[in-house]
Structures are given as structure tokens and as C-alpha cells.
């Protein structure tokens, strides 16, 4: 029952991200700079990944500024909040990755390339961006408003880096070998696990202000 709130919020933000990606894709179609329909679909998938990754970081902060205090003040336990945050992130990541994969499949992308290269890299990217969001969110609870300004600047810089990373992933998707992909996925998982330890420690003593 208490996870429902987090799932609902996750779905809401997924919808916002998808709407933004769709808007930008249509903007590109309107400019008529591309030649084929497949390129538009690829662009849609790229925008989904980019916006999704950026939002994961931003939402990481809002989780600790809004959702966690609200949940605890309405009687949720910290353990439920921790699980809720994971649910929130995974709802967003899973739907966006699934839709992006579907778009790429429509372009004629092979199942082998999707399963062994693009999706693992996408998962790794979401894990990394969520980790950054989680750490920034935890820091915002301790450092206050000044830190939020610094966090916003850092987030913007990271978003720019994120765009570069996403473009790089697309460029490298044909040349990356399976073991390199697995290493990247492993690093993403490890960094996410470490950020979760930081989150557990923060939530354990979380105070509603």
C-alpha cells in the first residue's frame, strides 16, 4: 500500500520525461533536418535516455526534499521510505529503457545488439546517474540551501556530460565488445550499491523538519 505512492509518483515523472522527449523529437521533425523515419526513432530513444538520466539526478534531490519527509510525516517507516525510493527510481528507469528499446527495435536494431550492448549500457547509465542523484540528495539533507545551489550547478554540468556520454554510447554501440559492456555494467552496479549504503545511513537518522 505504501509503495503505491512511490509507484504513482514514478509513473507521473516517467510521463513527464516521455512528453519532453516526444516534444523535442517532434521539434526535430519540424525542422526537417533528418532524412529517414528511423533516424527520428533513434533520436526519440536518445532523448528518452538523456532526459531520463538528467531527471534521475534531479529527482534524487527532490526525493529527500519532498517525498521522504512527506512519507515519514504521514506515518511511513524509514525502511518503507528506502524501498519506496528504489521503487520510484526503478519504475522510471525500467519504463524509459523499455520504451527506448522498443523504438530502437522499430528502427531495425537487432535483438542481439539490444540485449548485449544497448540495454546493458542504458542500465549502467541509469545506475550511475541515479547514484549521483542519490548522493546529491543525501548531501542536500545535511548541507541545506547553499548546497542546493551548488548541487544545481553540478547537476547542470553533469547533464552536459550526460549528453556527451549518451552520444558516445550511440557512437560506440557497434564497436563495443561484450566484456567491455559487462565491465561498464559492473561499475554502474557497484557505484549504485555504494550510493545505497550512503542512502541507508542518511535515511536511518532522517528527521522531518
Amino acid at each position: 500500500m505504501r509503495l503505491r505512492y512511490w509507484a504513482q509518483e514514478g509513473l507521473k515523472f516517467t510521463g513527464i520525461i516521455m512528453a519532453a522527449a516526444l516534444f523535442y523529437t517532434f521539434l526535430m521533425i519540424g525542422q526537417d533536418t533528418r532524412e529517414t523515419w528511423n533516424e527520428y526513432l533513434e533520436m526519440g530513444a536518445l532523448y528518452l535516455g538523456m532526459f531520463g538520466a538528467c531527471m534521475c539526478m534531479i529527482l534524487g534531490t527532490s526525493v529527500y526534499q519532498v517525498h521522504a519527509p512527506l512519507a515519514i510525516s504521514l506515518g511511513s517507516t524509514r525502511k518503507e521510505v528506502f524501498l519506496g525510493i528504489q521503487c520510484y527510481r526503478f519504475v522510471i528507469a525500467c519504463i524509459l529503457l523499455a520504451v527506448a528499446a522498443l523504438l530502437l527495435m522499430l528502427t531495425g536494431e537487432t535483438a542481439h545488439s539490444l540485449v548485449w550492448t544497448i540495454l546493458p549500457l542504458g542500465v549502467a547509465a541509469f545506475l550511475l546517474f541515479n547514484s549521483i542523484g542519490a548522493v546529491l540528495g543525501c548531501l542536500s539533507t545535511k548541507l541545506g540551501r547553499g548546497a542546493l545551489i551548488a548541487i544545481s550547478i553540478l547537476t547542470m554540468l553533469l547533464c552536459v556530460g550526460g549528453v556527451g556520454a549518451a552520444v558516445l554510447i550511440i557512437a560506440l554501440k557497434y564497436s563495443l565488445r561484450g566484456n567491455v559492456v559487462l565491465v561498464v555494467l559492473g561499475i554502474g552496479t557497484l557505484v549504485y550499491a555504494m550510493s545505497m549504503i550512503f542512502e541507508v545511513l542518511t535515511i536511518k537518522k532522517f528527521s522531518v523538519k
Binding site: M1, R2, R4, Y5, Q8, S62, Q65, V66, H67, L70, A71, I72, S73, L74, G75, S76, T77, R78, K79, E80, R145, L148, K205, S207, V208
Partner: protein
């Protein structure tokens, strides 16, 4: 009968001690008034009693079970906090409907009909954003959450802050109706003491992080009095009694006296004895350092 107990509760923020070895027992089926000066620790105490803040030491138990991260216990407690919506607060973008929707998802005994009815009677627009509401309207939202939660132990922090006199009367009536109907326990923290005194069955006075008094409101009013007269006459009349907040004006003196069972103001002295209301008693007990 259920009991919510604070046992040796302490809370510090850095070097600042907010609650100091506090002990308190709340019995179910009563309306408690929690009063104290600004910064006395009222909100911190209620936060800790509802698992919203961790303690520095001590614990809170409900029928003997520690409430910290205890799902069963938390299902019986609701602390509807004062909503401090600032421009940068994420809650500012929440509509009343969305906020109450979140409350409905979290609070297990949520009364949807009561929430809808109260929203209508307070004339709150469900589509209005919390960030656009006045202080009084935000108080109405917290009242709705507290009342519709149907929690056995319900705490309200400054529920009438910003409310106009009509809405305040509406709140007190609502509180008494709900109390009569369900026998729920309410703890109401307030600064508008005289108005709330009529609904408080027991009064809890918190001062500098300690409970200095917890007593039936009427019994407290009955045993309190204000003695005035010439200083030497007053001193002799109240000799040996519990005196607070002495005030001198020239040769005259006034003092608040709390009589214990069987005690009386000394007779045969030229002094005037007046009854006191709860607000005056509170000032006498907590306002000494303000002189």
C-alpha cells in the same frame, strides 16, 4: 486503555539541548493541551512521539512497545504537522487534492468521506496549490489530515494558527464532536491558550525541554490564585506555599500561588485573592525569566 509513554527522552541539536530527560504518560481517550513558550520543544517532542525525528536518548513506547520504526504502533499515531510552505519547498507545487491523496495512501484508517466533507465545510479548493494558500488555509489542511486520519493518538501542532475566529470555533466544535463520537486521544499544541482551555481535559506545560506540569485543567485552575496587597502582608499570607512570578509595584506586591491539597491562603492578612485563568497560570509558571 492504552498508554503512550516518553521515557527519559532527550534531544539535542549540536550543543543545544531541546528536550532534557523528559518523562510523560498519555492515557488514551483524553484531549491534552500542550503549551509552552516558543522554542520550548513542543514540536520536537511531538515529532519524536510520532517517529518523525530520532531521539538522542530515551524512547517512546505505546503499550510497552517501542514506537521507533514500529509499523503496528505507527498505524495508531498521526502527527499532522504545521505546513511551512516556502518558495523552494517542493510541497508548494502540491495541490490540496494531491496532498490529501498522499495522506489517504499512507494513513491506514483514512476516512475519505470525512476528508471530503471537511474540505467542503472549510471551503477549500481541491485544485489550489499549497504554495498559494494562506496560513489559515494551510492550517485547515492539517486539521483535515488529523481528523480524517482516525488515528487513535492524534497530535496537532498549532492547528488554529492563522485561522479566523469563525474557523477556530468550527475547529473546536469539530474536535469535541469527534472526541465524543470516537474517544480518540488528541494532543493539541497551541499558543491561544484561553480559547483552547475549554476543550483541554488535561494540560501539559513544557518549559526548556522539561515537562513542568501535567494536570487536569479544571483542577489546576481551581487551585491557582493571585494574591495582592502590601508586600509584607502578602509575604506572610503566602508563607510556605508554592509561589510563582512575584511582581512588585512600590510597596505593593502580587504573587501567583498554586495551592496543594489542604492548603489555604493565610487568614487575617489584608490581601486580595483573585482566581486565575489558564493563560495567567502559564505566564506565572513560564514567564519568570521574561521579567
Amino acid at each position: 486503555m492504552s498508554f503512550l509513554r516518553c521515557e527519559n527522552l532527550s534531544k539535542s541539536y549540536g550543543q543545544k539541548v531541546v528536550l532534557n530527560e523528559l518523562n510523560l504518560e498519555l492515557e488514551s481517550g483524553k484531549i491534552y493541551g500542550l503549551i509552552g513558550r516558543n522554542g520550548a520543544g513542543k514540536t520536537t517532542m511531538l515529532s519524536i512521539m510520532s517517529n518523525q525525528n530520532p531521539t538522542s536518548s530515551g524512547m517512546v513506547t505505546l503499550d510497552g512497545d517501542n514506537i521507533w520504526e514500529n509499523r503496528k504502533a505507527l498505524d495508531r499515531i498521526c502527527f499532522s504537522r504545521e505546513l511551512n510552505i516556502t518558495a523552494e519547498s517542493g510541497l508548494a507545487a502540491y495541490t490540496v487534492k494531491r496532498y490529501l491523496g498522499a495522506a489517504a495512501l499512507y494513513l491506514p484508517h483514512w476516512d475519505k468521506e470525512m476528508a471530503a466533507h471537511l474540505m467542503q465545510s472549510f471551503q477549500l479548493d481541491p485544485k489550489a496549490k499549497l504554495g498559494k494558500l494562506s496560513k489559515g488555509m494551510l492550517s485547515m489542511v492539517t486539521i483535515i489530515v488529523a481528523m480524517a486520519s482516525k488515528a487513535e493518538f492524534t497530535f496537532l501542532d498549532e492547528p488554529v494558527a492563522g485561522l479566523d475566529v469563525v474557523a477556530r470555533e468550527q475547529f473546536y466544535k469539530l474536535l469535541l464532536d469527534e472526541y465524543t463520537e470516537t474517544g480518540r486521544t488528541f494532543v493539541i499544541s497551541t499558543h491561544i491558550i484561553e480559547e483552547a482551555a475549554d476543550v483541554m481535559e488535561e494540560v501539559i506545560i513544557l518549559n526548556k525541554g522539561k515537562i513542568i506540569l501535567k494536570e487536569n485543567t479544571q483542577d489546576l485552575i481551581d487551585r491557582a490564585c493571585y494574591v495582592t496587597g502590601l508586600a509584607e502582608q502578602v509575604d506572610q499570607a503566602v508563607s510556605g506555599l508554592e509561589c510563582h512570578h512575584p511582581e512588585s509595584l512600590g510597596r505593593s506586591k502580587g504573587v501567583t500561588v498554586l495551592l496543594k491539597s489542604g492548603e489555604h491562603i493565610g487568614s487575617g492578612f489584608d490581601v486580595t485573592v483573585q482566581p486565575l485563568n489558564l493563560q495567567k497560570i502559564f505566564v506565572a509558571l513560564c514567564g519568570e525569566e521574561a521579567q
